[in-house]
C-alpha cells in the first residue's frame, strides 16, 4: 500500500474485483487468487471466457491458479524485481509500450537533477559509514517557480524516461533467466503476452497479494509492477491497474482508518518535532510540482481540522489548534512498526499490549522472539473468539515441547493475561471494506454467545473506566481523554451506525450529515472521522447498505452497489483511461468520457467540469501525473534487484551489494541469519484455500479439509533425499524448526540459477498448538527482516535445511 500511494497517490487496489473481467491479459504474480481469493477469482475466469483473456502465472510453485492459467513461468522466490525489470527492458527495447500515455500521464518527461546516479548496487548519496542514503540528489530539476522541468520529447538524457531506459538496460532476458531461474523462452513468452496490453485498445491487469508484500524489498517490487503497468497504459483503464488482493475481509478498512504511522484517511501521524497544528500542516501539505497539478493534498488542513473536530467536538477551537496538542506524538524518527514493536518488547522496554483480532505468536516472524517479547510484558489484553496462541503464549513450552524447549516455564512468566471473549464477524454489524474499496454494510446475523461482547462495547467500556479513573485519581496528561468527544447514546457501547455517521462527517453546528469531502472546512465548522469515507452516510442515508445492481457503463462498475471510496469512484485514476482530448483509449471500454462540458461515466478522478487539459490526471500527487521515479522510498528512486536477506546465491548484478542496503534487520540474540552452507534450500510460506489464517483450525468443517501440516517438496529434491509423500521430515532454519509429513510433487521444480541448481521448500501456514487440528507454527522458521518502507517481514524466500526423520 505504501508503494501504490507513492506511485499513484492512493494506497489501494486501483480497480476492483468486478473490473478484472474487463482485462485482455491477467498477470498473476506474488499471489494465488484461485487458492486465496476463490470468490474474486471468478472474474479472472470471466475475462478468460468472455474476452479470451490470457492468464499468465509467475510463481515458484505450480499452484491452484497456475492449474487454470494459459502460461506458467516458475521463478525463484525473491527475484520478482528482476523479472519485472526484465519486462520494462523488453517493453522499452522493443517499443511495446503506449508512448502517448507515458508522455501524457507519467513523470517520464520530468528532468532529474544533475548528480543523480547508480553504480555498483548503490544509488547516489550512499553513506557507507551511516549505512544511509542522503536523498538530495534524487530530485527533479526545478525551474524558478519551483516546478519540475520537463522534456515532452522524452529525449533529454536526464529525463526520467531516459534514466529508466538506462537503468533497466541490464535486465536482459538472459539476465532475467540467470537470476530468476526461469528459461529465457518462458520469460519471452510471458513478456510477449503481457505487452499485448501496450496497444491503446487493450488492457492488462496485475493481481498480487502477500507473495509480493512479504519481501525485504516489497515496496520497490510493487513499484516495478506499477512502472510496467504505466508503460502499458494500463492504469485507470477498465481491465487494467495494479490490484492488491487484501487477505482479510476488512484489511483495506483497517489501513484506511489508520495505522501506527497514520491517522484516519492516510493523514500522517503527528511527530514531536511538529509542535503545533500549523507546523504539522506546513510539514504535511505538499506543494505542486507542475503548474497544472491539482495536488489534492493541499486540502490537508480541511481533513485534519475536521478530524480533530470529530475527536474533540466543542473542545476543539481555533484558539487551541483544535486540540492538536492532545494527540499523541511519535518522536521525530520513531518507528512503531511490527519489527520495532516486538524488538522493544523483547528488550523489556514495553509494559503492556492490547491485542485485538491479531495473533502475533502465530503470524509474527521468528516465533521464539514473539514468545520472548510477550513474556517480558507486565500485562496483555487479548480480545478474541478463541483462546489463541497469543493468549496462551505462556503455555507454549508445555504444549509444543519439541519447538520451544528453550522458552521459560509457565511458572517463570510474570505477564498477566486477560482474555476477553469477543464477538465474531457474523455477530457484528458495520462495514467491511473489500479490496475494491467498497464499504459494504452488513447486519449482525446473531448475538454473541455467552459473555462475548462486540468490539465497540469492549472499547467503550475500557474507555469509560479509564476516563473515570483519571477523573477520580488524576494522573499524567488527563486532557486527551477528558477532552474526547463521546456523545453516543450508550457511551459504554456505541452503535456502529453512530460511529459510521461520525466517520462520514457532519456540520458541527447543525449536525447535518455531509454529502462528501468537498464540503470539509478548515475553520472548525465541519467534523469528519475520515475524509476518505465522507459521502458514505449522508442525509440520504447509509450509502454502504445500498445493493442496486444497475450497471450503466456495462463495465461492472455497479455505482449503486454499496459505496466505494473516494466519492463512490469505482476505478481510481480513471482520467488516465482517456487521451489528451478526453476520449477513451478504447471506445468499447469507455469508463469516462469528456462531453465538451463535463465528464460522464464513472465518478471522474478529476474535477467534474474541468477540461481534459486543465489538470494532471493523478490528482493526489504534487507531480499531477503518475510517478515512474519515486524518491519516497528508502532504497532508491528506481527499483533494483536485491537478493533476500538469506539467499542461496550472490546478487548477479552487483555481488558486493547483494542484499537491500536499506532493509531493516534486527540483532537481538534470537535474530540469527543463516547461510547457504548450513541451509541450502529456499523456503516460501503460503496459505491454503481450505483454511483461513490461524482461525479455521478451530472449526471442524474446515479442519477436515486439510487436517495436517505438510511440507511441499519438489519431486527431484525428494528423490535425492529418498523422501516419499507421507514421510516425516524436519525443516530447520537458523531460528527454529518445524516437522511434518512430506507432499512430494512435480509442481515444484529445481531451477538453474546462475549455474547452480536451486530447490524450494513449500510451507503452508495455518497450524499451531491450539485448535481442532494442530501442527507447528511456521514462523518458527522466519526471520525478523523487514521492508524498510512498509515494515512487512520477509516470509517469501529464506533459507532452510531439510532432513528425513
Amino acid at each position: 500500500m505504501a508503494s501504490l500511494a507513492a506511485t499513484f497517490g492512493r494506497g489501494a487496489m486501483t480497480n476492483g474485483w468486478t473490473d478484472v473481467a474487463n482485462a485482455d491479459v491477467v498477470l498473476i504474480m506474488g499471489g494465488n487468487p484461485a487458492e486465496n481469493h476463490p470468490v474474486g477469482f471468478r472474474f479472472v475466469l470471466e475475462a478468460r471466457r468472455k474476452r479470451k483473456a490470457k492468464v499468465v502465472v509467475v510463481d515458484p510453485r505450480f499452484n491452484r491458479t497456475a492449474a487454470v492459467a494459459d502460461v506458467y513461468v516458475p521463478i525463484r522466490a525473491g527475484t520478482d524485481i528482476a523479472f519485472l525489470g526484465g519486462l520494462i527492458h523488453y517493453a522499452l527495447s522493443t517499443g511495446k509500450y503506449q508512448a502517448e500515455y507515458v508522455r501524457q500521464h507519467t513523470t517520464a518527461p520530468f528532468l532529474v537533477k544533475e548528480g543523480f546516479g547508480f553504480a555498483d548496487g548503490h544509488f547516489s548519496g550512499w553513506d557507507e559509514a551511516t549505512k544511509k542514503y542522503d536523498k538530495s540528489s534524487w530530485e527533479y530539476e526545478l525551474d524558478a517557480q519551483g516546478f519540475a522541468k520537463v522534456d515532452p520529447t522524452l529525449e533529454h538524457p536526464r529525463s526520467v524516461f531516459q534514466w529508466m531506459k538506462r537503468h533497466y538496460a541490464r535486465y536482459t532476458a538472459e539476465q532475467v533467466s540467470s537470476i530468476c531461474g526461469c528459461s529465457k523462452e518462458d520469460f519471452l513468452k510471458a513478456a510477449e503476452l503481457i505487452t499485448v496490453a501496450a496497444a491503446k485498445d487493450k488492457s492488462g491487469t496485475v493481481l498480487y497479494a502477500l507473495g509480493w508484500t512479504q519481501h525485504s524489498h516489497s515496496v520497490q517490487l510493487i513499484h516495478t509492477a506499477a512502472m510496467v503497468q504505466l508503460l502499458m497504459g494500463n492504469i485507470g483503464m477498465p481491465g487494467g491497474g495494479v490490484n492488491a488482493q487484501r487477505g482479510h475481509a476488512n484489511i483495506q478498512g483497517s489501513t484506511d482508518m489508520g495505522a501506527w504511522n497514520m491517522l484516519p484517511g492516510y493523514l500522517k501521524l503527528p511527530r514531536a518535532n511538529w509542535s503545533s497544528l500549523d507546523e504539522y500542516l506546513k510539514a504535511n501539505t505538499p506543494k505542486p510540482l507542475r503548474p497544472d497539478s491539482l495536488n489534492y493534498w493541499s486540502n490537508t488542513n480541511k481533513f485534519m481540522v475536521s478530524l480533530l473536530k470529530a475527536y474533540y467536538g466543542d473542545k476543539a477551537t481555533k484558539e487551541n489548534g483544535f486540540g492538536y496538542d492532545w494527540l499523541p506524538k511519535a518522536g521525530e524518527t520513531d518507528n512503531y512498526g511490527w519489527g520495532y514493536l516486538f524488538d522493544n518488547m523483547y528488550a523489556g522496554k514495553m509494559e503492556g499490549l492490547i491485542s485485538f483480532g491479531m495473533n502475533p505468536v502465530a503470524n509474527g516472524p521468528n516465533t521464539s522472539k514473539m514468545l520472548g517479547g510477550l513474556g517480558k510484558l507486565k500485562w496483555m489484553i487479548v480480545a478474541e473468539n478463541f483462546e489463541t496462541e497469543t493468549a496462551a503464549f505462556w503455555k507454549a513450552k508445555e504444549l509444543a515441547q519439541q519447538y520451544y524447549a528453550n522458552s521459560p516455564d509457565a511458572a517463570r512468566i510474570q505477564t498477566e493475561v486477560f482474555l476477553l471473549p469477543a464477538a465474531c464477524f457474523a455477530e457484528k454489524d458495520g462495514a467491511f471494506v473489500n479490496s475494491s474499496r467498497w464499504l459494504q454494510w452488513k447486519d449482525a446475523a446473531l448475538d454473541p454467545p455467552g459473555d462475548a461482547l462486540r468490539d465497540q462495547e469492549i472499547i467503550g467500556r475500557l474507555f469509560a473506566k479509564v476516563r473515570e479513573l483519571y477523573a477520580k485519581e488524576g494522573g499524567a496528561a488527563p486532557e486527551p481523554l477528558q477532552s474526547m468527544s463521546w456523545s453516543y447514546a450508550t457511551p459504554s457501547a456505541p452503535s456502529l451506525v453512530e460511529v459510521a455517521r461520525e466517520v462520514n462527517g457532519r456540520e458541527a453546528a447543525s449536525g447535518k450529515q455531509l454529502s462528501g469531502f468537498g464540503e470539509l472546512k478548515d475553520d472548525g465548522s465541519t467534523a469528519c472521522g475520515n475524509w476518505l469515507y465522507s459521502g458514505s452516510f449522508t442525509e440520504a442515508g447509509n450509502m454502504m447498505a445500498r445493493r442496486g445492481q444497475e450497471d450503466p457503463t456495462a463495465l461492472g462498475l455497479y455505482p449503486n452497489y454499496s459505496w466505494s471510496w473516494p466519492a463512490n469512484r469505482r476505478i481510481l485514476y480513471n482520467r488516465a483511461a482517456a487521451d489528451a482530448g478526453g476520449q477513451p483509449w478504447d471506445a468499447t471500454r469507455a469508463s469516462l468520457r469528456w462531453t465538451g462540458t463535463r465528464w460522464t461515466g464513472d465518478t471522474p478522478d478529476y474535477k467534474a467540469d474541468a477540461a481534459p487539459d486543465a489538470n494532471g490526471s493523478f490528482i493526489m500527487l504534487p507531480e499531477g501525473v503518475a510517478k515512474l521515479f519515486t524518491p519516497d522510498f528508502a532504497e532508491g528512486p528506481f527499483p533494483e534487484h536485491y537478493e533476500p536477506a538469506e539467499s542461496p546465491v550472490e546478487n548477479a548484478l552487483h555481488p558486493q551489494v547483494s542484499f537491500n542496503p536499506s532493509a531493516k534487520v534486527f540483532h537481538s540474540d534470537l535474530d540469527k541469519i543463516g547461510s547457504v552452507k548450513d541451509y541450502p534450500y529456499v523456503a516460501i510460506t503460503y496459505r491454503l484455500t481450505e483454511h483461513f489464517h490461524y482461525w479455521t483450525k478451530h472449526i471442524a468443517s474446515s479442519s477436515q479439509l486439510q487436517t495436517h501440516f505438510f511440507v511441499e517438496l519438489p519431486d527431484e529434491l525428494a528423490r535425492q533425499k529418498d523422501i516419499k509423500s507421507g514421510d516425516r521430515v524436519r525443516v530447520s532454519s537458523a531460528r527454529g524448526k518445524v516437522e511434518g509429513q512430506a507432499l512430494v510433487t512435480k509442481r515444484m521444480r529445481g531451477m538453474d540459477v546462475n549455474g547452480k541448481r536451486i530447490y524450494h521448500v513449500g510451507l503452508p501456514i495455518h497450524w499451531g498448538f491450539l485448535g481442532k487440528v494442530s501442527g507447528p507454527l511456521i514462523n518458527n522458521l522466519t526471520a525478523s527482516v523487514f521492508d524498510p518502507n512498509s515494515g512487512t517481514p520477509e516470509y517469501k524466500g529464506f533459507l532452510v535445511n531439510l532432513e528425513k526423520l
Binding site: A34, K52, T689, T707, A742
Partner: protein, 263 residues
C-alpha cells in the same frame, strides 16, 4: 415433469472445496478429521458422510504438467445400475425430475447397488448398515431450490437447471473450448448408462480417466443378468433371507450387544 441436471465445467474448477463443505452442511454430515494422504485431496475416496469429493490429479504428458481438479459424486444416471441391482423395494427410486434418490428407511444394506454402480459411488455405513450417496439435494430441489453445492460454487463451475437446456449449454461450451485450441474438448454424458443427470465439460473428453472418470461406463453384466432372467430367483432368495431372519428372531430373540466399555 422436466428433468433437471447439474453441469460441472471442469475448466472453471479451482478445487476450492466449497462444494464439499456445503454438501456436508446441508446434509448434516459429521466431519471427520482424517489422515494425511500426500495429496491436496480431502480424503482418498467418497464416504457415507462425504458424498461430494474434489479429485486432484497431477500428471505430466508430452512435457506439459497438469493439475486437474474435478468434482466426483453420483451421476444420477438415466438408466441407473444401482437401481437395477437393488433388491429392496423402494430403497432406490427415480424421481419425476430424474434424480436417483436413496430412501435409507427401505435400504437393507446388502450393498448390491455398489456393485451395480459403474462409477463406484454408493458407500455403505458401518454404523447404520445403510448405503448413502448424493441425493442431488432432492429436499431442496423439491421446493425449487438449487442443490447446496451449486449455491456455494464461487466460479460458476457448477450450474443447475433443466436437463436439455443444460446439455445444450454444455455442448456450446465444449465448442467454445475447441475453438480456443482444446481440440479434444467435449461433454461427458456416457451412453452406457443411458446418459446422466450430472455431466461434465472436459478439456480433453478423449481421456476422462484423467479426471477420475471411467472411460466407457456401463452397468456390469452380472447386474443386468440379475435384474433380467434370474430376477425371480434373486427375489426368492431375498424373501427367503427375510423370512429366515424373522424365524431366527422368533426362535432366538434379539441379538444383545455386550457392553465392554468399563468405567
Amino acid at each position: 415433469m422436466m428433468h433437471v441436471a447439474k453441469l460441472i465445467d471442469t475448466t472453471l474448477c479451482i478445487g476450492c472445496k466449497a462444494c464439499e463443505v456445503a454438501c456436508q452442511q446441508w446434509n448434516d454430515q459429521e466431519y471427520t478429521l482424517g489422515t494425511f494422504d500426500g495429496s491436496y485431496q480431502t480424503m482418498p475416496d467418497l464416504a457415507p458422510n462425504f458424498w461430494n469429493l474434489i479429485k486432484f490429479n497431477e500428471y505430466e504428458r508430452d512435457g506439459k504438467l497438469s493439475w486437474l481438479m474435478a468434482k466426483y459424486q453420483c451421476m444420477h444416471c438415466v438408466a441407473p445400475g444401482c437401481l437395477k441391482a437393488c433388491p429392496a423395494p423402494g430403497a432406490i427410486v427415480t424421481l419425476a425430475n430424474g434424480t436417483v434418490d436413496f430412501a435409507q428407511e427401505n435400504c437393507i444394506g446388502c450393498g448390491y447397488c455398489i456393485t451395480g454402480c459403474p462409477f463406484d459411488v454408493p458407500r455403505l455405513s458401518n454404523t447404520t448398515k445403510k448405503v448413502y450417496k448424493c441425493s442431488l439435494c432432492s429436499d431442496r430441489t423439491a421446493v425449487g431450490l438449487e442443490p447446496a453445492c451449486i449455491k456455494t460454487c464461487p466460479t460458476n463451475c457448477l450450474t443447475f437447471g433443466e436437463r436439455d437446456a443444460l446439455l445444450h449449454g454444455a455442448e456450446a461450451r465444449a465448442q467454445e473450448l475447441r475453438a480456443d485450441g482444446h481440440a479434444e474438448a467435449g461433454v461427458y454424458n456416457p451412453a452406457g448408462v443411458g446418459g446422466t443427470h450430472v455431466f461434465y465439460v472436459l478439456a480433453n473428453a478423449a481421456r476422462p480417466e484423467d479426471y477420475g472418470l471411467p472411460k466407457d461406463p456401463s452397468v456390469p453384466w452380472t447386474v443386468r443378468l440379475w435384474k433380467g432372467p434370474v430376477k425371480w430367483l434373486g427375489t426368492m432368495v431375498l424373501v427367503g433371507g427375510i423370512l429366515g431372519t424373522f424365524f431366527h428372531y422368533v426362535r432366538y430373540g434379539p441379538k444383545e450387544a455386550h457392553d465392554v466399555e468399563g468405567d
